[in-house]
Amino acid sequence: MTTTLFYTLAVGSLVGMAGGILGSFALLRRMALVGDALSHVALPGLALGLLFHFNPFIGATCLLIFGTTIIWAVEHQTKLPVDTIVGVMFVMALALGILLTPQADLLEALFGNIANVSFADFWVASSLALMISAVLLLFSKKFTLTMISEELARSVNFKPHMIEFLFLTIFALVVAIGIKLTGVLLMGALIIIPAAIARNLAQSMRMYIFLSAVLSVAGAVVGILLSSLFGWPPGPTFVLFLGALFFASIFFKK
């Protein structure tokens, strides 16, 4: 195994783990599509990084946190319908991103290429993925109860609005670090599909979170190995592999 492949597998697995754990909470509240839409916001950020020669990861992160704050504010500070606004804003972000992104880099931004990950990006993404996984597990009870019932969460003195903000911020960070693996368009899949499979199979929350993380890591490893063997892009390989597993899991639904 080459050193590059080893690094790619390591970062892919760690990002996959963070995405899998995150997805298990996101699916508790059917937040899957908000997350998918949110990932599109990263594109103009990547584009700005490419155009003005700074690390695109920083541009993506800044815009994602901005997008997250807007979702949260619309949800809690206004009476506007969240779905519609989120839908319109994020398709606009995608359009703006496509206009701004240099043609040569567009395909990579949309569909990812983890093989191109730099040494600095490797360390940043890996350590962020580990930290995110730890925070998600640490706050797992708060996230779970808030996602299930805001009222019950408040009744035991949790602060649902703050917990949601923390969750959305983590969501944005996972999208930012996952973009190299799957690209902007397929990032939602990294978060949604492993959790959806786990939900079909698990009987308990502990098993659900564990399975979601394991499946995500497995998907990343298979995607990266197949892409290195056959020269396919890893993002779409990952998504198709897990998509197939999802349909298989329907037959084993508990």
Binding site: V156, N157, F158, A198, A202, Q203
Partner: protein, 237 residues
């Protein structure tokens, strides 16, 4: 000072006054029933007590009590992978009091230990209501707020939700404030009744304040009047 005291509590939602000038007191261990027609502000009052809604006026508890809350229902997806044990363990520990264990609270609500491993999505409505009560009992509450126990869904052969709450109160000594549509149960178990129809119509011992005239004022329809009139307080005790 009373355990709980409300003075001129009013609540506005979107500039509409949904609750006006509610004032009452509750003592430790008492049962207060809140009655009134749909849209009378019963749930609004309960949510104000919980601190979920902004209000005008004053709500004062003696000290800082642990408040348990049982919502009317929560919408849970049928395929939610969460066991009863995991659900009950979501309750954090308050530093003031030792937390009950999930096994203990299941015992309180008359469910066997085998329920710990059941997925909450497989429970019947009656079983789930008991689990919600168990959830509220985890931190040994000083007051339990209950948004409308549903009597019709009891598990056959077991005590009703009202009997269960009454028994628990004898042991745990919490004050109970509940919304109810069941006047027979109000007569039987409530120490005091608060009648609401956006404003406070009456407050006091059920036998004294729930006169046919007051009931007509609360519900405003002859249908309810006849229904209430049929309930003879003597026969239901």
């Amino acid at each position: 000072m009373a355990f709980l005291e409300l003075k001129n509590v009013s609540v506005k939602i979107k500039n509409e006054e949904v609750l006006q000038n509610v004032s009452f007191t509750a003592e430790k261990g008492e049962t207060i029933a809140i009655i009134g027609p749909n849209g009378a502000g019963k749930t609004t009052l309960l949510k104000s007590l919980l601190g979920f809604l902004p209000y005008q006026g004053a709500i004062k508890f003696e000290g800082k009590p642990v408040v348990g809350y049982v919502p009317q229902r929560i919408d849970i997806d049928r395929d939610l992978p969460l066991t009863v044990q995991e659900f009950l363990d979501l309750v954090p520990t308050f530093f003031k009091k030792p937390r009950n264990t999930p096994k203990q609270v299941l015992g309180f609500v008359n469910l066997s230990e085998t329920f710990l491993l059941r997925s909450i999505s497989t429970l019947s409505t009656g079983e789930f209501q008991r689990i919600l009560i168990a959830f509220a009992l985890m931190n040994q509450p000083d007051v339990l707020l209950f948004d409308e126990p549903t009597a019709s869904i009891d598990i056959a052969g077991q005590e009703t939700i009202y009997e269960l709450l009454h028994r628990l109160q004898d042991v745990q000594h919490f004050a109970l404030i509940l919304i109810s549509h069941d006047l027979t149960m109000v007569y039987r178990y409530a120490d005091k009744v608060l009648c609401l129809n956006r404003t406070q119509i009456c407050f006091g011992v059920p036998r004294e304040v729930l006169t046919p005239e007051e009931l007509q004022k609360i519900y405003g329809e002859t249908l309810f009047y006849h229904h209430a009139h049929e309930i003879n307080p003597e026969s239901s005790v």
